[in-house]
């Protein structure tokens, strides 16, 4: 894994304010997301994040995380 499980959990949590605020920010540009669309966006982001996290670094399965506690 590229990051520790703890760090991954924290990043997923940090996505919540990002998605919530992103919906408001997009409306400034005339793009209005429904709640369902926002949830779908959140789902895509979480899946993308998980894939990135578990994908082996440099394609050789090595781990890059320095987290130890």
């Amino acid at each position: 894994m590229r990051i520790s499980k703890g760090a991954l959990l924290v990043v997923v949590a940090l996505l919540v304010p990002f998605v919530v605020e992103f919906r408001t920010a997009l409306s400034w540009f005339g793009i209005k997301l429904t709640i369902l669309e926002s949830l779908a966006l959140a789902g895509v982001l979480v899946i993308g994040l998980l894939l990135w996290a578990v994908w082996p670094e440099n394609g050789n399965g090595g781990t890059g995380t320095a987290d130890s506690s």
């Binding site: 703890g6 924290v10 949590a13 919540v16 919530v20 995380t65």
Partner: protein, 593 residues
């Protein structure tokens, strides 16, 4: 002892309870008092969230104000300050490496605070009774909200309880000063250790700011509620409340700041970046916390715009210590991460101990505090404040400050403190990590919705925010969506609170453990020896703080009293006839004449 490397486990346990068993008992009692207040106050928060949003109602709307008062007082006063006195007692004894002068005195102020809390709670919760009992000649009731200024009037027992609580906190300050003076007589040439310095400067501005609320209660509100005086000047009591009311925000916040300065670097795996900078920050809070309360009264008629402008300027100056803190704490975390092998401009973030609930809780609390700072700047600006004044925006703001920066830091710190105070290992670290993350997520939903609804004018402090024949128009989404977001946030926060309390209870009833880390705090990269000695001159900073208060408040108070009288326009003040037959007073007057 105090600044050894982080969290090593030695063969012989050296937790706080092993070093200071007597003090550990008092601190544990203070923390549990704090947790009980958190449990009750937090649950009432859910009741409010569900009622206001019309998701689930099981109380009558008039009772909402009793719930709101209990929620505010129990969380903003009781939870925070009980936790503070425990933390500060830990900080003083740990950093001075000596116990308090007399632990009986420590128990005395703690018990006084408990009695005060019980009296206040009796007065507030009587509001739920069909017919509240009559005590001291009036019905028990205190639906006056956390801000408790006139014209709302509470039962005298509420004010007496508050007085006991505040006097208890004053005596706690005396205890910390006594302990420091005893240490100083044994170490005359030593610099004040940083944690003790933080405690003493915070205590000093607490003395300065509580003078206002003491005056308000003892001279005006208590005599008024007892019928000794006929009326009060509402603007005067409001101003005296806010003289205290904004500084109390920093009083809650300073233990959280202290944790960020002396514990976060340690859990990051490094040292505090700069001891001198930390001292400067706490001196600035001593100087600037009090002379700015009028920024809560931008819409009050009767206070000239010029005074409000001065308050705004002082408030903006107070951003400086917060920005200094953000720099110092993040620099310390980066140092720690690099010690743990972190590399790159942002890659070091991955090396931080995110699986540690103490670290993660405090770090997320700090992050939320940054957001709170931005919304706070909106509140502090005189012109833009008019847009959000008395709306749900303000509630969203302080749920990020006291509700997250303070509360989440305290909960995360409890995962360190309770094992230190009991000698028992934390029951479940994974549950603890989940708990702090849930708090972060729940507060994101709730405070975001509150801020947004404030922007379209939805009022605070009401059970029925929706007016008849009028629809609010949010810029994004619908009012229904926003209400659902608040309710969802409230439910997640309550779940998080339940997990926290479960962890605390299970830890406390667990078995003794030999693997409790040593009681230490972070060392420094740049220590006290690098800071000028004048920073430790508490008399000088206190004198300047008092002068600033005099400059900021003398003319506004004189103006308010001149316009509205001490006890209201045309009111003489003390009504001598309260317990005496008016005919007797009349005949006495005849005799004198």
């Amino acid at each position: 002892m105090a600044t050894s490397p982080p969290t090593e486990v030695t063969a012989m346990r050296n937790a706080y309870v092993d070093q200071f068993p007597d003090e550990a008992r008092v601190i544990k009692a203070a923390f549990w008092s704090s947790f009980i207040a958190l449990a009750i106050g937090g649950t009432l928060g859910l009741v409010q969230a569900l009622h206001r949003t019309d998701v689930f109602r099981f109380i009558q709307s008039p009772d909402y104000y009793t719930v709101l008062t209990a929620h505010g007082v129990l969380l903003a006063i009781t939870f925070t300050i009980f936790f503070l006195v425990g933390t500060f007692t830990w900080a003083v004894t740990t950093s001075l490496d000596r116990g308090v002068v007399d632990v009986r005195f420590t128990w005395a102020w703690y018990i006084m605070m408990v009695i005060g809390t019980v009296l206040v709670a009796i007065a507030i919760f009587s509001g739920f009774l069909e017919s509240a009992p009559s005590v001291l000649g009036s019905e028990l009731n205190a639906d006056v909200l956390f801000t408790f200024y006139a014209p709302l009037e509470a039962h005298p027992i509420f004010y007496i309880g508050l007085v006991l609580f505040v006097v208890g906190s004053w005596l706690a300050g005396v205890d910390w000063f006594r302990t420091w003076l005893a240490w100083r007589s044994e170490n005359p040439d030593e610099r004040i250790p940083l944690p003790t310095f933080m405690v003493l400067t915070t205590t000093l501005f607490w003395y300065i700011c509580t003078f206002g609320v003491a005056l308000s209660i003892l001279v005006f509100l208590l005599p008024w509620s007892l019928g000794i005086t006929e009326s009060v000047n509402p603007l005067l009591t409001r101003t005296l409340f806010w003289y205290f009311g904004h500084a109390v925000v920093y009083f809650w916040l300073m233990p959280a700041y202290m944790m960020w300065y002396i514990m976060l670097p340690k859990f990051s795996g490094g040292k505090l970046f700069s001891d001198p900078l930390a001292r400067v920050v706490f001196v600035l809070f001593l100087l600037l916390s009090t002379p700015l309360g009028i920024h809560h009264q931008y819409l009050d008629p009767g206070i000239a715009e010029g005074y409000k402008f001065i308050a705004m300027t002082n408030t903006m100056f107070l951003l400086l210590p917060s920005l200094l803190t953000a720099f110092t704490v993040v620099a310390s975390m980066e140092h720690g991460a690099r010690q743990r092998g972190g590399e790159g401009y942002l890659g070091w973030l991955k090396a931080l101990p995110w699986r540690n609930p103490i670290f993660t809780g405090m770090a997320l609390a700090g992050l939320m505090f940054a957001a709170a700072g931005f919304s706070g700047m909106i509140n502090a600006g005189m012109n833009i404040n008019y847009l959000v004044h008395n709306t749900w925006w303000v509630v969203g703001h302080f749920h990020l400050t006291v509700g997250t920066a303070v509360a989440l830091t305290f909960m995360a710190a409890s995962y360190w403190f309770i094992p230190q105070l009991t000698g028992k290992e934390l029951w479940n670290r994974s549950v603890a990590l989940g708990q702090v993350l849930l708090w972060f997520i729940g507060m994101t939903f709730m405070s975001n919705a509150m801020h947004r609804s404030g922007l379209f004018g939805m009022p605070r402090r009401t059970a029925e925010p929706q007016y008849q024949g009028f629809d609010f128009e949010p810029a994004v989404g619908t009012v229904g969506e926003i209400n659902m977001q608040v309710a969802l946030g409230g439910v997640i926060l309550t779940l998080s609170l339940a997990l926290f309390l479960l962890n605390m209870i299970m830890t406390s009833i667990g078995d003794d453990s030999e693997s409790i880390p040593d009681n230490t705090y972070a060392g420094t990269l740049s220590g006290a020896e690098d800071s000028p000695r004048i920073l430790d001159n508490l008399k000088l900073w206190t004198a300047i703080a008092v002068v600033l208060v005099i400059i900021a408040y003398t003319l506004p108070l004189a103006s308010i009293i001149d316009a509205g009288g001490l006890f209201g326009p045309g009111i003489e003040g003390v009504r001598l006839s309260t317990w005496v037959d008016p005919a007797v007073i009349e005949s006495l007057g005849e005799v004198i004449r």
